[in-house]
């Protein structure tokens, strides 16, 4: 089942009234949507507000979503319109970066090179999360590190990873899962701390 099919299934569930299915789409896409919106908005609080608003608008528009485009393309369009409306309402000029044309936001990799316009708290948190994940990846046993890197960084399928690593596909499934669990275990205290600070 492809990534697009999974999204479509979750959308179909939300369209039948399962709000919790929409929660899963929020969890999946909130960071990618925020990254897209950072091309228009400078302030991290604005990015967070517009991200939230875009998801609410997307939820309200779900009855009109027919699946002709991928969910994330549709969501990103809503996000861009929400950002533009936000800027018009607050009479602020958008921050538009050179590769704005790429609507799906997947090729945008300049974020790390941009001037840091986040609030000190969110900038620090971003750095801490990335540092914690990178450190956890470095500490993984070599076979787990290779498997998770081939999956997350290179986008290889399990079948392709099995061929690269010369092991059964079941082993790949297990290695990637164990890698994620190990990283999540190291990340959890940081996220819990952030949650307590936030709320």
């Amino acid at each position: 089942m492809s990534d697009r099919d999974i999204d479509q299934q979750l959308v179909a569930r939300a369209q039948k009234g399962e709000k919790r299915a929409f929660d899963l789409l929020v969890a999946k896409y909130q960071r990618r949507l925020a990254r897209l919106l950072s091309r228009f908005l400078r302030d991290s609080a604005d990015i967070e507000d517009v991200t939230q608003e875009a998801f609410v608008k997307a939820y309200r528009s779900l009855p009109a979503f027919r699946g002709e485009s991928a969910f994330y393309t549709w969501l990103y369009r809503i996000g861009i319109n929400t950002a533009k409306n936000f800027l018009s309402a607050s009479a602020r000029r958008p921050v538009v970066h050179a590769d704005f044309e790429d609507e799906d936001g997947e090729s945008f990799d300049l974020a790390a090179q941009l001037p840091d316009l986040n609030t000190p708290e969110s900038a620090l948190m971003n750095k801490q999360i990335i540092a914690t994940v990178n450190a956890a990846v470095e500490r993984l046993p070599e076979e787990l590190r290779t498997a998770i890197s081939l999956r997350e960084m290179d986008g290889l399928s399990y079948d392709e990873i099995a061929k690269v690593m010369d092991c059964p596909i079941g082993t790949v499934r297990s290695r990637i899962f164990r890698a994620r669990e190990a990283i999540a275990t190291e990340l959890r205290p940081l996220l819990d701390t952030a949650k307590n600070k936030r709320w």
């Binding site: 999974i6 709000k19 990015i47 997350e152």
Partner: protein
Amino acid sequence: MRQSISELMDSELGENAAAQVMTAIEADASLKQAWNDYHLIGDAMRANAHVSIDVRGRVSARLKEEPTVLAPRRWHGAQRVRMAGAAALAASVSFAAVVAWQQLARPAHTAVAVNAQAQQQVALLPVSSSNADAYFLAHQELTADQGLVQVSYSRRAAH
């Protein structure tokens, strides 16, 4: 189940298995947390600069205030044909009823009045081209029974 979540987000599950895992995640807060954490790890490994954002709680609170969305059902196959047939029949009956009502409701003299009005409008059409005027003057005896030429010529003559 957590391994199944890992496989789901990597598009490695079949449709039925995926549906079961989705149902399980929706029903269990710890599985939902795993779903979020695994996606967060991927975004962090790809150096997304906005990994600290978390609007799940705020969006969820807003959605609780929203009415539940229910998309209209899609019609398939024979159901769609039946519905289309019924709609076409209903449209035909409605159209026939409207036409019949208009015919019955219209006063008898209306058609005559409309016809006269149309003729008058045609007669008052301005003809400004000098070529046309020359043509009409040359052939006016042939077209004397047509109001268009007579009116045009008389107007021009009055100036």
